[in-house]
């Protein structure tokens, strides 16, 4: 399949020239095409932020919800129609800041969705405040003396909570990013892909160059099913590992723990209440 099936035609993209988001968009389209996923079977769910505008730039079904709240609707959409490929995609502020509680609990629930986070270590859309992943010392108009609190480590968190797939990619490397996305989307269960994404407008610290010198690719020696080893990798800070860091394919998906597809395989949108059973129930309430 050609990735241009996802093209929107002539639209005005609101991202800054040179932004890492463009590469992510392109890699995602390529990954989807390679996986033969059609726009009609795809639902892009996002929050609010620069990254969160991505669903408007890719032909698909779209649920562009509230800041920080992409994961709950994504979980519900997948549960209501497991035939859909569901991707929840937003920025680091959205997913790790406002949406922190959903992140934790989506990891626990393990719906079969892909969670892509554009991690630019800054709040882009609101013009440059610190994000949860901003590095110590990073100065902004709000953090005037520099960020003074520990950055949030999404990889370590995912491993701690046994998220079933945890990967990190870099927006500066199209091919590898695409490969990682393919693995993530193919993974059966919740998959987190934290993508290091340079923000050329507001983050002058974590540039393309910086990310390049502060990352390395995991090689085959790394066993992503080894949780403690993965944790060790997650704690590396000076050189952050890229690739699939942790994977646990043993966990059941959220959708499969519900009973709603046991007797009825049909989609929800046509279902009507079983009035007969309801009458039985009511009669039984006469006890």
């Amino acid at each position: 399949m050609e990735s241009n099936i996802f093209d929107m035609g002539k639209i005005d993209i609101a991202w800054c020239p040179g932004c890492g988001n463009f590469a992510i968009l392109k890699a995602l389209k390529a990954a989807l095409a390679e996986l033969e996923i059609t726009p009609h079977n795809l639902v892009m769910v996002s929050g609010i932020g620069q990254a969160a505008k991505i669903p408007h730039y890719l032909r698909a079904n779209v649920f562009n919800g509230l800041h920080g709240r992409a994961l709950p609707p994504a979980t519900a959409i997948k549960a209501v129609n497991p035939d859909l490929t569901v991707i929840a995609e937003s920025g680091d502020g959205d997913m790790y800041g406002e949406g922190g509680n959903h992140l934790i609990n989506t990891m626990r629930r393990n719906p079969d969705i892909t969670n892509i986070v554009h991690n630019n270590m800054v709040y882009g859309l609101t013009k440059g405040q610190a994000s949860p992943t901003s590095r110590m010392g990073f100065k902004t108009p709000v953090q005037v003396r520099g960020v003074a609190i520990e950055p949030f480590n999404p990889i370590a968190l995912g491993i701690a909570l046994d998220a079933s797939f945890v990967a990190r990619a870099f927006a500066g490397d199209f091919e590898q990013m695409k490969e990682i996305l393919i693995k993530a989307i193919s993974h059966h269960g919740y998959a987190l892909v934290d993508i290091l994404q340079p923000c050329v407008s507001f983050n002058k610290l974590n540039t393309y160059e910086w990310f390049k010198t502060h990352t390395y690719y995991l090689d085959n020696a790394h066993d992503p099913t080894d949780r403690t080893a993965a944790f060790g990798v997650a704690l590396e800070e000076n050189k952050m590992a890229l690739g699939v860091i942790y994977q646990n394919s043993e966990r059941a998906c959220f959708e499969t723990t519900t009973t709603v597809y046991e007797d009825n395989k049909g989609p929800f949108c046509n279902r009507k209440p079983n009035l007969e059973k309801l009458n039985d129930l009511i009669t039984s309430k006469g006890r």
């Binding site: 726009p39 009609h40 079977n41 639902v43 769910v45 609010i48 505008k53 669903p55 408007h56 032909r59 698909a60 079904n61 779209v62 649920f63 562009n64 919800g65 509230l66 709240r69 994961l71 709950p72 609707p73 994504a74 979980t75 519900a76 959409i77 549960a79 209501v80 129609n81 035939d83 859909l84 509680n101 959903h102 934790i104 609990n105 519900t258 009973t259 709603v260 007797d263 009825n264 989609p267 929800f268 949108c269 046509n270 279902r271 009507k272 209440p273 079983n274 009035l275 059973k277 309801l278 009458n279 129930l281 009511i282 009669t283 309430k285 006469g286 006890r287």
Partner: protein, 578 residues
């Protein structure tokens, strides 16, 4: 003691009171089932503390020859399970109250309290049978006897009720009930007690549910197949009910990590084709408001069961109130239409909850069902229900290639598609958007979208449920109520016996039915009755009808109005000269 009226006719208020976790529930279930099977009208309501053990909770069971599903202050028969219980209901005890208590178990009671106390030594009897746990069946047996329930009937029911227990336990409970029955016989004879209530055998066939179950049944009838919620009293009953029924009715029931997740899951579920709802209470709902606003801009259907309790803050978690009307009405930032329903009777709760799903789907808006702790925890017998007539319509279209989710239409409603069904793509957005659903900053499009959303109000008003007038058309004074107060006001109104006074009950409080103004206009005096300190519905009526509300009768201590209180306050208020 000679004062105590040992003959009670037609309408008995029985109260069982004791500490939490001490089995009131069991006595209550056995007794009310037996009463109903025997053809009595039965109403039960409870008030309880926000704790799991200890304290004092009480259940009122009203047994009557005609349906009277409302709270009384008066207690005809009181069964206090411990000494603190007596204190707890002290204000409601009069010389007409028959108190059946285990004197030995109580220990010394002061003179005044002891008056009217009839000894009922159930503790000793229970331990004779095999332990304190059997006290419940003894009490149930005693009460069954008082109400003249056939012993055979009782025994049959107990077998059924305890059917999942071990044979020994069943046997002991049978023994215990028989023992209570026997003790009661002695008491009845010694004290000359006689209860005389007409029976209607058809009641045995009635449905017997509480408010939470009514909402749950209505939801199922409305096609609900997705529920995401976070536990919160008094809304949890609906979550529990639908979780129990989930497997049978194909419902995904998910306990969310918080209310924010719950409301956003609900919207995701509707988007994908489900019929979804949340059940919550004040503080939990406050957390959902951003999500309600999201429903507003996305034009997503949404059904919210909001069970009210007294705020602000955590307030009184297990008490009742009607304080969240304005909260629901103005919830969420920005202007967008919504519907608020407030059932007053159980049947209404069933049908309105069902209709909430239909309305939400039709108008693509949030629809609220406003109940309260009193309502969800009260139960009574109602005749059968009918669902055939109003089943889910095809509210979802199969999309075409050029599908635009927010097509601008005359009535403001754009045909709703879902992803994966049809040739179109379904794009929904929390930003202001164009017809295709994509983010826009075109200020004219913005106005077009606001206007489109607002235009729905025209048909919404036409579809509004009219208020129900109780009494003749020829009223001078109009009593106005909404939601759970319906039975109480109705009963108090009928006790007044005044032809110049009518009662108008609203089960839809927003948008108001177009007839509302006319109803109000006819009255010389308008009195609004509600369970909050701000007279919220009175404000709403003023605003909507531009007519004066002359008096309000408010209550906000956490309890429902009783019939007696309502009667007194009506009498006080009706004849006030302005």
């Amino acid at each position: 003691m000679g004062n105590i009226p040992r003959k009670i006719k037609d309408d008995v208020s029985l109260v069982i009171c004791g500490s939490a976790g001490k089995g009131i529930q069991t006595v209550e279930t056995i007794l009310t089932q037996l009463l109903k099977r025997s053809g009595f009208h039965v109403f039960g309501t409870k008030e309880y503390m926000s704790r799991v053990r200890g304290g004092s909770n009480s259940t009122e069971i009203r047994v009557s020859s005609t349906s009277r599903p409302s709270l009384l202050d008066r207690i005809n028969i009181l069964v206090p399970l411990d000494k603190a219980a007596l204190k707890h209901v002290q204000k409601r005890i009069s010389e007409n109250t028959l108190i059946l208590a285990d004197k030995e178990h109580f220990g010394p009671v002061d003179e005044k309290e002891a008056q009217g106390l009839i000894d009922f030594p159930f503790s000793q009897a229970a331990s004779d049978i095999g332990g304190a746990i059997y006290a419940n069946s003894i009490v149930a047996g005693l009460l069954a006897q008082l109400f003249g329930i056939d012993q055979e009937e009782m025994s049959l029911f107990l077998d059924q009720f305890f059917s999942e227990k071990k044979p020994e336990v069943i046997e002991n409970n049978q023994k215990a009930a028989a023992k209570g029955y026997e003790i009661a016989q002695r008491i009845v004879e010694a004290e000359g007690i006689a209860i005389d209530i007409e029976r209607h055998p058809h009641i045995a066939e009635d449905i017997f549910i509480n408010g939470a179950e009514a909402v749950g049944i209505g939801a199922i009838a409305g096609g609900c197949n997705f529920l995401s919620s976070y536990p919160m009293s008094p809304s949890t009953g609906v979550l529990v009910f639908l979780s129990e029924q989930a497997e049978k009715f194909g419902i995904i029931s998910e306990q969310a990590e918080d209310e924010i997740s719950a409301v956003n899951m609900m919207l995701g579920a509707w988007y994908a084709g489900a019929r979804a709802m949340v059940t919550t209470s004040g503080g939990g709902f406050a957390l959902m408001e951003e999500g309600i606003s999201l429903a507003g801009v996305m034009e997503s259907p949404a059904v919210i069961h909001l069970a009210q309790r007294p705020g602000p803050g955590t307030g009184l978690p297990t008490r009742t109130a009607q304080g969240d009307l304005e909260l629901a009405l103005y919830s969420g930032h920005g202007d967008f239409p919504r519907i608020i329903l407030a059932p007053g009777r159980l049947e209404e709760a069933v049908y309105l909850t069902r209709d909430a799903f239909h309305l939400a789907a039709k108008f693509q808006i949030p629809v609220f069902i406003l109940t309260d702790q009193y309502f969800v925890d009260s139960y009574y017998n109602i005749p059968s229900l009918d669902f055939q007539s109003k089943n889910r319509e095809n509210d979802i279209i199969e999309t075409e290639d050029d599908y635009r989710r927010y097509r601008i239409t005359e009535n403001g409603i754009s045909p709703r598609g879902v992803p994966g069904f049809g040739k179109g793509l379904v794009v929904t957005d929390s930003d202001e958007h164009d017809e295709a659903g994509h983010i826009t900053e075109d200020l004219d499009m913005r106005v077009a979208m606001v206007d489109k959303r607002k235009r729905k109000l025209v048909d919404m008003k036409k579809a509004a449920f009219p208020p129900e007038l109780v009494g003749t058309d020829n009223y001078d004074t109009l009593l106005i109520g909404w939601g759970s107060t319906y039975p109480v006001i109705r009963e108090a109104w009928s006790l007044l016996g005044r032809e110049d006074v009518a009662f108008l009950h609203f089960s839809q409080v927003h948008p108001l039915h177009p007839d509302t103004s006319a109803y109000l206009r006819q009255a010389k005096k308008r009195i609004v009755i509600e369970g909050n300190s701000d007279a919220q519905f009175a404000s709403l009526l003023r605003r909507h009808t531009k007519q004066e509300i002359h008096q309000t009768i408010l209550k906000y201590n956490g309890a429902q109005f009783s019939v007696e209180e309502m009667t007194t306050r009506l009498k006080e208020t009706i004849d006030i000269k302005e």
